[in-house]
């Protein structure tokens, strides 16, 4: 924007800014007071409960981060919200589920137990293969999505690809429902990874359970994020991705195949989302065709919270959102059914007070 604003416009801007900041400070004070009240005066929860909330938040936050990176990568390059990204994750969850069912079906008799199945005989291989298959399915879905629903609309006005993405999201959700049925399904984990088993950590007088599934999710999401960071920062593909995000035409002039780079970006974000989907299934157990919708929107919230287009921001935003969502209802003394309200409220508040996110720099006119 130019600097030659009229004084009137400037003053009106300042007034609205002032109102916004006063409202923000009031809100912050209210939240702080409420947290103080529930944590110290009412004292309904001991330190072990808080610990439990934070662990649960970190695990779910890792999954949000993985999905949020997908949003951020695509947004950084195409400046569009890949609305169907949650559905890509849902397909990954189905892929992992079917692998587990297949392994449970295959017999692998050992000397001690003739009824042993492959899933329990080789749990590590099974889990690894489930993750690989989930990631491959999601990557394929992401790639096809880009080819069919987004590539023809590269030059269209901005709302057009977004509407196309909404259509793709509805399509994928209902296709999964028609193919696999609307009922909730349960991941049958290998016995060593059974949900509800884990290490007990002593906190105060009691112990807090750190589940194996949660640890697996957290460690794996950290590894995937490190891998992604390596790809983006150190490899040729990462360099071309950053170049395309900076300026498509200049990148094309430098000999970068822009379409191929965009396709690969969708594949990478699909791999991350698919892994998150399998994690979701292994950790939470129940899932159905609708599983991608809420995590998808929340991961978008996480991406906005960290600053959209910014990869470390998406990682941090995901973790932060997971913890806030898990701790929030208890800290504010609200019902736990309102945790989605907290996530959406964070989205609205971030967009009002700091649209560029926590780590994002002010974006140019074209990108904002």
């Amino acid at each position: 924007m130019s600097e030659q604003k009229t004084t009137r416009e400037q003053s009106s801007l300042n007034v609205s800014k002032l109102i916004r900041w006063i409202a923000g400070i009031l809100l912050l004070a209210l939240v702080g007071w409420r947290v103080y009240q529930t944590a110290f005066i009412e004292g309904g929860y001991g330190p072990d409960t808080w610990m439990r909330f934070i662990i649960a938040g970190l695990v779910i936050g890792g999954m949000y981060s993985l999905i949020a990176i997908g949003y951020t990568l695509v947004y950084g390059i195409l400046f569009m919200i890949n609305f169907a990204h949650g559905e890509v994750m849902m397909l990954g969850a189905f892929g992992g589920y079917f692998m587990f069912e297949l392994f449970a079906f295959i017999k692998a008799p050992t000397a001690s137990d003739p009824n042993m199945n492959f899933l329990n005989a080789y749990p590590l291989v099974s889990v690894l293969l489930a993750f690989i298959v989930g990631a491959v399915i999601s990557a394929t879905a992401g790639f096809l999505l880009e080819r069919i629903a987004y590539r023809p609309l590269r030059k269209a006005p901005r709302l057009v690809p977004l509407i196309s993405a909404i259509g793709a999201s509805i399509f994928l959700q209902n296709a999964a429902q028609l193919l696999f049925g609307p009922q909730r399904r349960q991941y049958i984990n290998p016995d060593v990874l059974w949900r509800g088993t884990g290490w007990s950590i002593p906190v105060g007088d009691t112990t807090v359970l750190l589940t194996y599934t949660g640890t697996l999710s957290l460690v794996l999401s950290a590894l995937l994020m490190i891998g992604l960071f390596y790809i983006v920062q150190k490899t040729k593909l990462g360099r071309s991705m950053r170049a395309v995000a900076e300026n498509k035409q200049a990148a094309a002039l430098m000999g970068i195949d822009v379409d191929a780079v965009i396709g690969k970006t969708f594949i990478i974000s699909g791999i991350l989302a698919g892994s998150a989907g399998v994690m979701w299934g292994i950790h939470n157990g129940l899932f159905n065709h609708y599983v991608g919708f809420l995590p998808g929107i929340k991961a978008f919230t996480a991406a906005v919270l960290g600053g959209i287009g910014n990869i470390p921001g998406a990682m941090m935003g995901g973790m932060l959102l997971g913890i806030l969502e898990s701790v929030g209802p208890a800290a504010l003394g609200l019902d736990f059914q309102l945790k989605d309200v907290i996530a959406f409220s964070i989205l609205i508040l971030v967009l009002i007070f700091r649209p560029s996110g926590l780590l994002g720099e002010a974006l140019s006119e074209e990108k904002v």
């Binding site: 259509g167 793709a168 028609l178 059914q337 409220s345 609205i348």
Partner: protein, 522 residues
């Protein structure tokens, strides 16, 4: 040759995957039973074991003829070789895919494994049917059928649809018709104002008398279409005219319905407000919510706005349902026994209620139309075309965007109140995200920014599915696909908005400046 092989394989893989998808989702069986209904060789509720195989063959053949027609199109030289070879490649490749699939399914069938736990639509009777009554060589049959079908389709399109004699016949018949219209003086008659009035009178009479004839079921369906026209008109102002994508439109619908419900239901507040007052209150409440929501977020960029409003819609629904507000909103059980309209002491019948909806729709169309061609409407158009330029020409963009949101919300509030009153009930599950998506779909399918488009869209998306009840479970799937296809092929919609009169006049005088056709404004 090489490109034709490549295109053939590409199209063939699409056709193959589509047919496999149809098989797995049970659509093939549903289509066969619908064909049976059409041909009269199977009853509507016939079990899959009673369906004649010929229906499935006809269905696959029709699909292949269509695919072959597409495969043979877009050739520079329209020779027989250029037509049949791509058709054959497409058919052979898709046939190969489906044959592999059918072979695998046949193995499963031979083992007597029931897949219904994983793929609920594919039980053993269905597999038996899809294998042409358990034929061992079903995969070969599929391959042959699809290849022949695609070649036949290509030949059919070449010899009939794209043939010179058919095109000539079409142009001559159209010309004769035009000549006839000109000579007989019908054209004068059509352009006449009196004709328009007569037409409107006939339409009004039809709208008055039809509801008494078509029974309560269609009355209900058409009432729903009417309410969706109201919602569509409102969203059309926000999305189509001012170019703000709002995905949480259901929030305003919910607020209208709940404002109406809380004012008139006996529980939990027992205010028992008059119907007409409550309608006004619902409209006001929704419009006020629109303004309050718009104040902080309207400066956001388009796609941020979409997600924020989507989040807002979800917040409203979760809050309505939550335990925290149960004392105020009655929670998940919803509000019962809402007010019915009364006029001069008489309660409304269903038919009267339909008339009421029609009157509201007509008023709403009038308002929307006047707004669209007013200075406000032109300001909206300018904002949707380019916000910065609009601001530079002296339009207070924030004010106009807020106005659009408030007006759109008011329409939604009216729709919500009518919906709640007609059902005498409203609950949180009436206000799911799907309502927003449905309304957005009808606006886009009809054509963004076009009022007749909204009406057409509401009939296509709410009325037509009622005619095809067998396809109910595929409705949303088709919506999703329709949105993508629409955006890729025809983003302007079924009935696109015309350019405003002055602009059209300018382009008539200066044809050089006119933008290329099919350009979208959003």
């Amino acid at each position: 040759m090489r490109t034709s092989i490549k295109n053939g394989i590409r199209l063939g893989s699409i056709v193959g995957v589509v047919l496999i998808f149809f098989h797995l989702t049970g659509f093939s069986v549903v289509a066969s039973s619908m064909l049976g209904n059409l041909l009269g060789n199977a009853s509507r509720t016939a079990n899959v074991t009673r369906l004649p195989i010929i229906n499935l063959i006809i269905f696959i053949t029709l699909l292949c003829i269509f695919a072959g027609g597409i495969a043979s199109k877009n050739k520079e030289i329209d020779s027989w070789g250029n037509t049949l070879i791509p058709g054959a490649i497409t058919g052979a490749f898709s046939g190969l895919l489906v044959a592999i699939f059918v072979y695998l399914i046949g193995i499963v069938y031979a083992q007597n494994i029931d897949l219904r736990n994983y793929l609920p639509e594919v039980g053993l009777p269905t597999i038996n049917y899809l294998l042409f009554d358990g034929k061992k060589f079903a995969s070969l049959l599929y391959f042959g059928l699809m290849t022949v079908g695609c070649i036949a389709g290509a030949a059919f399109f070449k010899s009939v649809i794209r043939a010179d004699w058919r095109k000539k016949a079409q142009t001559t018949s159209v010309q004769t018709f035009k000549k006839f219209v000109k000579k007989s003086g019908i054209q004068k008659f059509i352009g006449n104002k009196i004709t328009v009035y007569v037409f409107l009178a006939v339409a009004a009479l039809l709208l008055y008398f039809l509801p008494t004839q078509w029974g309560p079921y269609w009355n209900y369906i058409m009432g729903t279409v009417g309410i969706y026209i109201l919602l569509g008109l409102g969203l059309n102002i926000i999305v189509g005219l001012s170019g703000q994508l709002v995905l949480g439109y259901v929030a305003f619908f919910a607020i209208g319905a709940y404002a109406f419900g809380l004012m008139t239901a006996l529980e939990p507040h027992a205010i028992s407000m008059n119907f007409w007052l409550a309608i006004g209150f619902a409209i006001l409440a929704a419009a006020l919510t629109g303004i309050l929501l718009g104040l902080p977020i309207l400066n956001l960029r388009g796609d941020y706005l979409a997600i924020v409003t989507l989040g807002f819609g979800e917040i409203i629904r979760i809050l309505i349902k939550s335990d925290m507000l149960t004392g105020f909103t009655n929670g998940p059980s919803g509000l019962n026994g809402l007010a019915q309209p009364r006029w001069l002491g008489n309660a409304f019948t269903d038919i009267n209620f339909f008339h009421l909806i029609v009157i509201f729709v007509i008023v709403a169309i009038f308002i929307a139309n006047r707004l669209q061609s007013s200075r406000t409407g032109r300001a909206w158009l300018a904002i949707s075309a380019d916000q910065t330029v609009a601001q530079a020409t002296g339009i207070n963009t924030f004010k106009y965007k807020l106005l659009a949101l408030a007006l759109g919300a008011a329409f939604a509030g009216l729709g919500g109140a009518l919906f709640a009153s007609r059902n005498q009930f409203t609950g949180p599950e009436d206000h799911i995200l799907m309502v927003s998506i449905n309304v957005l779909c009808l606006v886009i399918v009809g054509g963004m920014g076009s009022i007749p488009g909204v009406v057409v869209g509401a009939f296509v998306l709410k009325g037509v599915p009622e005619l095809l009840r067998d396809l109910e479970s595929y409705r949303l799937l088709a919506f999703g696909a329709l949105l993508v296809v629409m955006m890729v092929m025809r983003p302007e919609g079924l009935w696109p908005k015309g350019r405003p009169a002055l602009e059209a006049l300018y382009y008539q005088k200066h044809p050089k400046d006119s933008p290329p056709d099919g350009e979208v404004q959003s």
